[in-house]
């Protein structure tokens, strides 16, 4: 179970000098079979939640996963932890292929990879005290002898900035931000190497949001955590991430080092996202020149053929409707799935972006 003992050979090939990957995801596909309405008989349909996603994550690194609802970012986060089984594809964590593990081994490995959920209050059992909630992972993974658990809970409460007497109180006595601190304490209790953060601040007020982001940054530095940071807000993702992957309808359309992506987004969808972010400065009026992306995300029951963004893309051509673009490098560690990536980066179909100073 030593983290460094079993590192596999599949180190990152995306970027030259990056260290051995902690997490490698290769060709991840998650489809759900559902029974939908039919004319006479109910018909079976497939939700294409995640359709071939690959990325890797180094220790102590933060990868941001951005996209709109239904793009598969949360499903990706859950599947990476094998909370859901992928339809196909491979997830390797600390060099071990999760599909080859027995249920017992998987449970044991979960102490190394944890998740923080979006709804901070809903994620906590209302009938348990905060102390019980935080000591649960300690008990499950048998990390701390019973006699020392109380001490460890208090230590964890201190780490996330809650008073020690919080242990005897119930979740409803706390605000959303404080509940999220409890959720984080639960996640780090097992001393993981990887945290999947699924929209950890999107339900919080801005002033509280900043407090939680600061806590996450501090914990990452102190405990050496790697984060898979899932969010829909490009501003928050940009503040937190080393690298960013943009997802649309189950696929990664662009992945790059944070600074490269924010300096020169290539994919028209990435640009659309940047142009839609409201900028807190009245002098900057993005999207004012009528350059708001039109249309809505198509159904994941039957994703459009070719490039999945072609139905909303102002640059779409015949080729985009027929041929699906694959992720191609456009720079150091910067990959884009667009037939006209270079042209799109220059053409700026959505005008001014939020990153333009």
């Amino acid at each position: 179970m030593s983290p460094s003992a079993a590192l596999g050979p599949g180190a990152s090939q995306v970027v030259g000098e990056r260290q051995e990957a902690l997490l490698e995801v290769d060709g991840l596909v998650v489809h759900y079979r559902i029974t939908g309405a039919g004319k006479v008989f109910r018909k079976h349909e497939t939700v294409h939640a995640v359709d071939g996603v690959s990325f890797d994550l180094a220790p102590r690194e933060t990868l941001g996963l951005v996209g709109e609802s239904g793009c598969g970012k949360s499903t990706t986060g859950r599947t990476v932890l094998y909370l859901e089984r992928p339809t196909s594809g491979r997830v390797r964590f600390e060099g071990r292929d999760l599909s080859e593990l027995t249920p017992g081994e998987l449970t044991a490995l979960r102490s190394r990879m944890q998740i923080v959920f979006q709804d901070p209050i809903g994620a906590l059992n209302p009938r348990h005290t905060v102390g019980q909630l935080i000591s649960e992972p300690l008990r499950v993974h048998d990390l701390v002898p019973k006699a020392r658990r109380r001490e460890r809970v208090e230590e964890l409460l201190g780490l996330v900035g809650l008073p020690a007497d919080a242990a005897s109180r119930f979740p409803h006595e706390f605000s959303g931000g404080q509940c999220q601190r409890v959720g984080i304490a639960r996640a780090i209790a097992a001393e993981p190497a990887l945290l999947v953060l699924d929209e950890p601040v999107s339900s919080l007020d801005v002033s509280v949001q900043a407090q939680i982001l600061q806590l996450l940054v501090d914990l990452q530095e102190r405990l050496g955590l790697a984060y898979l940071f899932i969010a829909h807000d490009l501003a928050v993702v940009g503040e937190m991430s080393d690298r960013v992957a943009v997802m649309y309808l189950g696929k990664i359309v662009e992945i790059a080092e944070r600074d490269a992506l924010y300096a020169r987004p290539h994919h028209p969808y990435t640009q659309a996202l940047f142009s839609a972010v409201p900028v807190p400065d009245p002098a900057v009026r993005t999207g004012r020149d009528g350059a708001v992306v039109s249309g809505e995300v198509p159904s994941s029951l039957s994703p459009p053929p070719g490039c999945r963004f072609h139905t909303r893309c102002p640059l779409a051509q015949e080729r985009c409707r027929a041929e699906e673009p694959s992720l191609e490098p456009v720079g150091q560690g910067h990959e884009v799935a667009c037939h006209f990536a270079e042209a799109a980066a220059t053409a700026r179909p959505f005008g001014r972006l939020a990153t333009d100073g």
Binding site: E68, S69, S175, G177, Q178, D205, V206, S207, V208, Q209, A210, Q211, L213, Q214, V217, H232, D233, L234, A235, V236, G238, E239, M240, S241, D242, R258, D259, Y262, A263, A272, L273, F274, S275, A276, V277, P278, V279, P280, D281, P282, A283, V284, R285, T286, G287, R288, G290, V292, V293, S294, E296, V297, A354, T355, G357
Partner: protein, 351 residues
Amino acid sequence: MTDDLAGARVGPEGTGAGAAPLLEVRGLRVAFPLERRTVYAVQGLTFEVHAGERLGIVGESGSGKSVSAQSIMRMVPFPGKVTGGQVLFEGRDLLGIPDAAIRSVRGSKIGMVPQNPLSSLNPVITIEAHFREVLSRHLGLSRSEARVRAVELLGSVGIPDPAQRLHEYAHRLSGGQRQRVIIALAIACRPRVLIADEPTTALDVTIQAQILQLFDELVAGANLGAVLITHNLGIVAAHCDRVVVMYAGRVMETAPVVELFRSPSHPYTVGLLRCVPRVAMHKARVFATIPGLPPQVTELRDGCPFAPRCDRVSEQCRRETPALADIAPGHALACWNPVTDAAARAEAASV
């Protein structure tokens, strides 16, 4: 407790004294008497909305912004009660008129776009029935007249194939389309004032951008007075002309939008501006935060409600409640120790 009334009247720059406001709220107070305590949700809110103007009300959860909007239409949920103040609209105080009279204003002369597009439409009636109800109640249109007008309205809010959509139920529409339908319903009777309570919080960013663009077009096109309630300062910057910053049921600061962002003066406004995540060029290591949590006001006591979280707090702040007073034309402030430091303001405005 009429200090807020005597305080600054919030007027837009340039409108002059001649133009009478469409909607005027004066010293509004709302309280929620609960079993063991009373929550004072709004404590003396004063603002005006003029034709063609978009007023933004910003605040965190619990600041009283949504309750304020609801009380304009006399729709405060039980057990909340309006305990004081006036809402002046077309020469009448909406808080004092009979129930039958308010019903002819609600949804007719004042349109409201509620927060949650997913649950604001009736799931068991068609889209057409929603329009029929509004149009026959307020304008007395017949079934066929209502249908024609509904198609026109749906077209004007950008719903593709509107005639077809009329026969459908809400669950067949996406979140963005439902919000468009709700906006179409809100403007169906050609209101003078449109109140939108967090109209885009449940929507994705690209859809949010579309809906806000529609909001701007409608306000400009019909010369409406609009109140946009939001927690997002980015939305305020791009889609409002004037801003009221609320905290713990009170107005902390109000100013034309450019002025507010250029020279925020209340420590809370400055703090809020600093906290807003920005699409910056580099990863952050240190986040600006406001320590503590937004309060819930359960007892009336003197002193600034922001004092416990404020870094400029003085003895006076804890003892006396600052009144809203003008510091520049159209720019009013309720603070004993305002931020005047140009450096701090600049930092807040452009981190």
